[in-house]
Amino acid sequence: MSESELIEIAGQWNFNYNYFAGESASRFFRELRENQRIMGTRCTKCRRLLVPARAFCDACMERTNEWEAVGPEGTLDTFTIITTQFPGLPKPPIVMAYVTLDGADTALINLVHGLDMSDIDKAARRLNSLPRVRTKFIDEPKGRITDFSFELI
């Protein structure tokens, strides 16, 4: 059968959801909105300060208890520079990186702003030198992970 004779039936998945963040992430997001600070929770067993905050440590299967603020500065651990537009994703170039904030034992992902992107390879070399970064909050935090991003110091 030729391609033109084959039938395609149009379909669309466009369901709406409300994702339930749970108590720990809710408190983490409230701290972002109200105090512009990034919080971690400490595992009662391995004692790592897990960032972003969560109710338990999945490696140990134990609860976390103490809440501690981290940053606002930290070290960039790894990154990518998105250079191509993908449908449904923001416009390139976008720098996305894992950063370990001072005091934290784990890295968290966010976007990095304020880098000269006119030469991608040069920007990549700069990012690969594990630069220090600082957290920068948006003017009106909404209690979302996108309330802040990183910029190189």
Binding site: L6, Q12, W13, Y98, N110
Partner: protein, 387 residues
């Protein structure tokens, strides 16, 4: 424990879209070929396991309904992301080892051609609370690791390009492959940059297709051409990628779960000198960096010797042949990819790999990688039965 063998393999061709076949027809076609290769009919099959990963890729809920073949058999649908295919094989193997079945038909389907924006779908597999607001996709996840490997172990963009070009050239000898490109590392480097350091020709294609295998207990194998499952291990890792970046015992690019799987599977198979005892390797390496991470995990070399190992493959014929089928760069039907690795190893061991056959294969090793490397599988197939 009874020994288990692969006695039948069936694969559709892999391509961007199979507009000439419904999902059910793809499953049926691969399964029928596997049964014919095993010289069996559906009546001889005791259980069916269907591996299909996220449903949003096909836009069909409960897409496993296409796995209904024959009647009156236990049926399981399995989804463990990228290792869906190998998890499905291991479920079948375990069913036989435990005495619940003599013969199991395992099948994996990828139907992502129906999605008009698969990277958008891939973004939905991340944590909706902390991760989904970022452009995390399979490509950017690989890029985050690739840049880390470059910094830690000295890989360059040239290494990524060499690996990709080799896989695409190998795919030219595989009639099932989707992307068969006779290209060089230079061509890869000249292709558009997707997410630094990953270029278009270093990324796997989006492929559709189905793969099926018949697994059998040793007492019904008879005189069939069999590839024996000598070792099979599957291990998981902690979820958050950020938790593993600085983890002292194994960073994000030291694939702890793959290393543990390899150590367990090699022990079962009696492998203690992998470079000498394995002739063919099918790696779940949708990106070159995934291949690089597999070298130390499979004890092929130390992490810091990885860049040299890439170069050695082109000059040392005694090393195991990596991805003779072209690997996931030749075709990446996601839900099926990890099963395809095992199926290709079975064909190598059975001497049925056609133009892509590696000479004198006694043992072949297949890996699987899933999630954000949360899941890893290693399967050793060989000519000899191991108890």
């Amino acid at each position: 424990m009874t020994a288990v063998a692969v006695i039948g393999v069936g694969q559709t061709n892999y391509r961007r879209a199979h507009k000439d076949k419904s999902s059910r027809e793809l499953i049926w076609e691969a399964s029928k070929m596997a049964l014919e290769d095993a010289n069996m009919d559906i009546g001889g099959i005791d259980a069916i396991m269907a591996g299909i990963a996220p449903e949003a890729l096909s836009g069909e809920g409960s897409v496993e309904r296409g796995g209904m073949m024959g009647v009156g058999k236990p049926f399981l649908r399995i989804n463990t992301g990228g290792v869906t295919g190998s998890s499905t094989v291991f479920a079948g193997t375990t069913y036989i080892q435990s005495g619940r079945a003599k013969a199991v038909l395992v099948v994996a389907l990828e139907r992502m051609g129906q999605a008009t924006s698969s990277q958008q779908v891939f973004n939905t597999i991340f944590d909706p609370v902390y991760e989904k607001d970022f452009p995390l996709t399979t490509i950017t996840m690989a890029a985050l690791r690739a840049s880390m490997l470059m910094r830690m172990y000295g890989y360059t963009e040239q290494h990524w390009a060499e690996i990709a070009a080799r896989s695409f050239r190998n795919a030219c000898r595989n009639p099932h492959a989707h992307l068969k490109l006779d290209i060089t590392a230079d061509d890869v480097l000249k292709s558009p940059l997707l997410a630094w350091p990953i270029h278009r020709y270093e990324a796997c294609p989006m492929s559709e297709g189905a793969c099926a295998m018949v697994l059998a207990a040793e007492d019904i194998v008879g005189d069939r051409n069999a590839a024996w499952v000598q070792g099979a291990a599957s291990t998981s890792d902690s979820y958050a990628m950020g938790d593993r970046i600085r983890r002292p015992e194994a960073t994000l690019v030291d694939l702890l779960s793959l290393r543990l799987s390899a150590e367990r599977a090699f022990k079962q198979a009696g492998i203690d000198r992998p470079l000498e005892q394995i002739q063919a390797v099918e790696l779940y390496s949708a990106f070159s960096s995934a291949e690089a991470m597999a070298y130390p995990a499979l004890h092929f070399c130390k992490p810091e010797d990885g860049p040299r190992f890439v170069e050695a493959q082109f000059s040392d014929p005694s090393l195991p042949k990596i991805n003779p089928s072209g690997g996931p760069q030749g075709a990446n039907p996601v839900s099926a990819t990890a099963m395809v690795r095992i199926a290709e190893c079975a064909l190598q061991v059975r001497g049925m790999a056609g133009e892509r056959q590696v000479a004198d294969v006694d043992r072949a090793v297949a890996t699987g990688q899933g999630g954000a490397t949360q899941f890893s599988t290693v399967c050793v197939l060989g000519k000899k039965k191991v108890h």
